[in-house]
């Protein structure tokens, strides 16, 4: 049985169920790396250029880990675009080349090009090409891909119920989730790229921390796609980053909701789209408390905890004070 390695980073947190089912449906065994830890991070930092953003460094760490296991293939897709006329980020477009240039002794890569920016022709061809490694029957590959799509849909229903994508993946794989004892009296909208939010190391476990502080966390994945798109469409120019548009739309939607007390945006240091999108959001949602948290490879958690506590305290006080003498939303 052929073993395919899928690094636990970047779009793992959006598409893992799809990828895993696709390869297992074709008779392969899928191996993932362990959740991000210090070793992952250190190895990632060693093999990337300093200027790369943190999630890219972590991704390289996961690849290094997979290289040590006995796998036949490494799945590093070149994700250019997942919808029409929108992109993810230039770094995603160059990742197989970056990996080849910076890591030696790689197993053979499956560098499927995923590019829906014009149409789905190229991507469909690429999926067949990837499947051909395991079987010669095109119909079998198509069926495998379609069945895999259903698995992804199942996970998306779970995120719609308020689970994070990481939790949804665990549930989908049959692991039960630990119960967090928390009472929620605040509702906080949490925005950020899935690969930084749901990776407990990159985001320093911000979601569970907020939950333990008594916040109900609303994630973009839990919102209706239509709501997000319609709010994002109010901007004078369409945001051409898929994730960026999702963030702007979600922020504008949350800003209009009474029950959302405040919004936190988790950005990565050096992230190109975040630098623009964060600025737009900050300017458009005046009136709703907003905090931008930038994460990178620093490991001190106290700074993050202090800021979260201060933000939650401020939200609570703001709620106590009546509307007439509201606290400044900028703290």
């Amino acid at each position: 049985m052929k073993r395919v390695g899928i690094p636990r980073g970047l779009f793992y947190y959006y598409y893992y169920p799809l990828w895993k089912s696709f390869f297992t449906n074709l008779g392969a065994q899928v191996v993932t790396s362990a959740p991000t830890n210090r070793l992952t991070v250190e190895q990632g930092i060693q093999s990337t250029v300093d200027e790369s953003c943190y999630p890219i460094k972590v991704y390289f760490g996961h690849i290094k880990q997979l290289c040590r296991e006995s796998i036949d293939y490494l799945f590093i897709p070149r994700i250019v675009s997942v919808e029409k006329r929108s992109y993810i980020c230039p770094k995603f477009m160059g990742i197989p080349d970056m990996v080849r240039a910076r890591i030696d002794n790689l197993p053979p890569l499956i560098d499927t090009i995923i590019d829906f920016s014009r149409d789905d022709k190229l991507t469909n061809k690429e999926i067949i090409k990837a499947g051909k490694i395991f079987t010669n029957k095109t119909s079998l590959i198509r069926d495998a891909y379609q069945a895999a799509g259903k698995e992804l849909q199942f996970c998306k229903t779970l995120t719609g119920q308020g689970h994070t994508m990481a939790e949804a993946i665990s549930l989908w794989e049959g692991t039960s989730l630990p119960r967090l004892n928390s009472s929620s009296d605040l509702t906080v909208g949490l925005l950020g790229h899935g690969y930084s939010l749901y990776d407990q190391d990159i985001s320093m476990n911000i979601i569970d921390r907020l939950r333990l502080m008594g916040c109900r966390v609303v994630l973009p994945e839990a919102l209706d796609k239509q709501d997000i798109e319609s709010r994002a469409a109010t901007l004078p120019k369409r945001v051409f980053w898929t994730l960026g548009r999702k963030m702007v739309g979600s922020a504008l939607y949350m800003a209009q909701r009474q029950e959302v007390d405040g919004i936190i945006y988790v950005a990565c240091f050096g992230c190109g789209p975040d630098s623009m999108v964060g600025e737009i959001i900050e300017r458009k949602i005046a009136g709703k408390p907003f905090m931008l948290i930038t994460v990178d490879e620093h490991t001190g958690e106290a700074g993050l905890i202090t800021r979260l506590e201060a933000f939650c305290d401020m939200l609570k006080r703001r709620r106590m004070a009546n509307d007439a003498d509201n606290f400044s939303p900028h703290g």
């Binding site: 160059g94 970056m98 240039a101 964060g278």
Partner: protein, 368 residues
């Protein structure tokens, strides 16, 4: 309507001519200074790339000088530049400035669309006149390009660097003041002759390729005037991007003249096999090209956090190894101390000179 626009190298000369010929009043921003950058840093998002910060500074200074309309380019990603105009408009409006913003979006395929956009600005000109103006400006752009190339070459070869700087500066100013094509041609050939006739030194001259993000390559204020600095150290710089090529490739989709992009892309493979937005693929392809045409070294420049350039940088060390060409990457951001950059450039050129000498000695059998 008093129109302003962002600075990018010598682009202000043709844009000003274009606007004036369309019977519009142009208010170019004052030259980029420390103050421009300080304004940009103050109001632009912290993690935005440097061109955004500088152009915000440009706009503020121009609006203070009486401009009421901003001309800016757009784009459809994935590079951040495509969203510059949107963010800049929000920032300037929040600062309380009153202005109109005209955003020229690069057309998907249609050149006429672009001409119409240009014509829409000039209220009193016909499409035919617009076409004539565009042709004239294109001529001017090419003349400036010739001057820049001559300057880059002769500056490294002459012993009188200051005079070269002066001749070049005067030539540029004269081209901006011309009214007819033949005047431009005359100024152009006179200036080039002037540079050519400067006394030469007999030191070795290094050939350095400059690759990277377009704004950083073209704008001296953004790259600490790297071309002139290297020229003063007897290194002749050839760039990966010249303005006419950029306009031809990006605004006219390669319709004006034959583009060498296909070849650059071929060279980029197998190091970088897909486009990555911005000039990432050009950076890699041109580095390979420079290596194969016997350049001594390549310097990659870009604004800090520039996404396409990070991808290129990630594979550049492989290119350097396999094509055997020394490469250095310089990122520019808010820091204003030139000494650090100049020290690195000096060290790099020293290293290249030694490498050239060693190779020479090996060839002559001097060192075993």
């Amino acid at each position: 309507m008093q129109i302003t626009f962002p600075h990018m190298g010598n682009v202000h000369i043709p844009i000003k001519t274009l606007l004036q010929k369309l019977q519009l009043e142009a208010v170019p921003p004052p030259p980029i200074t420390q103050k421009t950058l300080a304004l940009g840093i103050k109001y632009a998002p912290e993690f935005a790339c440097l061109p955004l910060k500088i152009s915000i500074g440009n706009f503020i200074e121009a609006l203070e000088n009486g401009a009421d309309t901003i001309l800016m380019a757009g784009g459809w990603g994935p590079c951040r530049f495509g969203y510059y105009a949107q963010v800049e408009r929000d920032i300037l409006q929040d600062l309380g400035y009153q202005f109109k913003m005209i955003i020229l979006e690069a057309p998907d395929s249609n050149v006429r669309e672009l001409l119409n956009q240009v014509k829409a600005m000039g209220e009193n000109v016909t499409l035919w006149e617009t076409l004539k103006v565009v042709k004239y400006v294109w001529h001017q752009i090419n003349a400036i390009d010739k001057l820049e190339k001559a300057y880059e070459y002769y500056l490294a070869h002459t012993s009188e660097k200051e005079r070269a700087d002066k001749i070049f500066g005067n030539g540029l100013a004269a081209i901006g003041n011309c009214c007819f094509k033949k005047d431009i041609d005359q100024v152009c050939s006179e200036t080039i002759a002037g540079l050519e006739n400067l006394p030469r030194h007999n030191q070795p001259v290094l050939k350095i390729g400059l690759v990277g993000e377009v704004y950083t390559v073209l704008e001296p204020a953004c790259n600490f005037d790297i071309i002139s600095f290297l020229g003063h150290m007897n290194a002749a710089v050839t760039r990966s991007i010249y303005l006419p090529d950029w306009i031809n490739d990006h605004l006219f989709k390669g319709m004006i003249k034959k583009s060498n992009r296909a070849q650059v892309y071929r060279q980029a493979s197998p190091y970088l096999n897909y486009w990555v937005g911005g000039h990432g693929r050009e950076t890699v392809g041109c580095t390979v090209g420079f290596a194969r045409s016997a350049f001594d070294g390549v310097i990659q420049v870009g604004p800090l956090t520039c996404m396409p350039e990070i991808v290129a940088q990630s594979v550049l060390h492989k290119v350097s190894e396999e094509e055997s060409i020394p490469c250095m990457t310089l990122y520019f951001d808010e820091h204003s101390g030139s000494a650090g950059v100049y020290t690195r450039l000096e060290a790099f050129t020293d290293m290249l000179n030694r490498r050239v000498n060693t190779n020479l000695n090996i060839k002559q059998g001097g060192i075993n």
